[in-house]
């Protein structure tokens, strides 16, 4: 029997099939990554003897059930919170061992000794709105970031980045290992200068 040539398969509809699949994946794709405020919760077990903290080293921020902001027991607008927090953290009122040589604040006796001692205590009510709480958190983190940016630029002007950008670069998986290795100690130094001591107290029960 004579050898028959295999009939050619018509591939004209290939493009249509591929387009169909393409459109399906286009529709289901979500490329964006989430972002938000990273926080750390305090561990559950109670400390046996809580360290004694002087009243002047605590910066109390309260958001009450009417979403009003009370900073150090005074009614305040959220727009002012960042500067108030910076003034408190950067005060550097300590003397001797507790002195802070890089602080540029007012060195007020009645405010914090140094950034390491300074604690921001954030309290909220059960009826507080989540979005207001996030706004307050955002401003407090901003206060720390502003101070860290300032010190990072002062100490490492050669890096050409501020603290936030440097940290972003460090966290980016595309950054090469050497660059990350170089950034890490610098970031740690600045983090240690202004440690984020932001305590989220347990809420007061509404009666």
């Amino acid at each position: 029997m004579a050898k028959r040539a295999a009939p050619e398969v018509n591939a004209g509809s290939m493009a249509d099939i591929a387009f169909l699949l393409l459109i399906f994946f286009l529709v289901t794709t979500t490329i964006e990554t989430d972002s938000g405020l990273n926080r750390k919760l305090p561990p559950m077990e109670d400390q046996v003897d809580p360290p004694i903290i002087r009243e002047k080293n605590i910066f109390t921020v309260v958001v009450n059930k009417n979403n009003q902001l009370l900073v150090e027991e005074k009614l305040t607008d959220v727009a002012e919170l960042r500067q108030l927090a910076i003034d408190f953290l950067d005060n550097g009122g300590g003397v001797g061992e507790e002195a802070c040589d890089y602080c540029q604040g007012a060195r007020d006796e009645a405010s914090s000794d140094n950034p390491d001692k300074a604690i921001i205590s954030l309290k909220n009510d059960r009826e507080t709105s989540y979005k207001v709480y996030i706004a307050v958190q955002n401003e407090l983190v901003a206060a720390y970031n502003d101070l860290r940016n300032r010190e990072f630029l002062r100490l490492y002007p050669n890096v050409g980045l501020n603290f936030v950008d440097a940290e972003k670069k460090y966290d980016d998986p595309r950054t090469s290992a050497e660059v990350a290795e170089d950034l890490k100690p610098k970031l740690d130094v600045v983090k240690k200068m202004y440690p984020q001591k932001l305590s989220e107290a347990e809420p007061n029960k509404t009666s």
Partner: protein
């Protein structure tokens, strides 16, 4: 002279579309690789609050998601209007959060179990009481790294 003779006829040759499937396949593969299918359908309202001091939440395999908010209109008559927690595909009570976290943690690879982050995707209209309850539950199972997922924007959008 005949070298420069005009090519006869003005009809354009048809463009070959033979490479079209190849191009489309290339695109197709790109999207297939880049796709992350939505693993759970949202059953709660989820308008996130705005913030600008944010950090990216890379590495999706290290993240556990907890949603909270008012049930969306489809579920309103069944579950009421007060804010609820959604874990995976169903509504849950506060007490189930701990078990959920432990189950999620056990399902992850060994080396990732200590670096997990819990992303709280909470609707901006929620009261802090619910969030506080979730946080207490997370503390009980020592899932201490959390992320308040937000969208990018100025804080003033939250206050009105």
């Amino acid at each position: 002279m005949s070298k420069f003779k005009k090519k006869k006829g003005g009809d354009l040759p048809a463009i070959s579309t033979a490479s079209l499937p190849d191009i489309v396949f290339m695109l197709l593969f790109f999207f297939m690789v880049a796709t992350v299918m939505r693993d759970s359908t949202l059953m709660v309202a989820n308008k996130l609050p705005a913030a600008d001091q944010i950090q990216k939440l890379d590495k999706k395999d290290r993240v556990m998601y907890i949603y909270a908010g008012k049930p969306s209109s489809r579920y309103e008559d069944k579950y009421g209007k007060s804010a609820k927690i959604q874990l995976n595909d169903k509504f849950a009570s506060v007490g189930e959060v701990g078990a959920f976290i432990l189950a999620e943690r056990a399902a992850k690879r060994q080396e990732l179990q200590n670096v997990l982050t819990t992303a709280l995707k909470v609707d901006s209209e929620t009261k802090m009481g619910l969030v506080q309850d979730i946080k207490q539950e997370l503390r009980k199972v020592s899932a201490l790294k959390i992320n308040y997922t937000t969208r990018v924007g100025d804080y003033s959008q939250n206050i009105n």
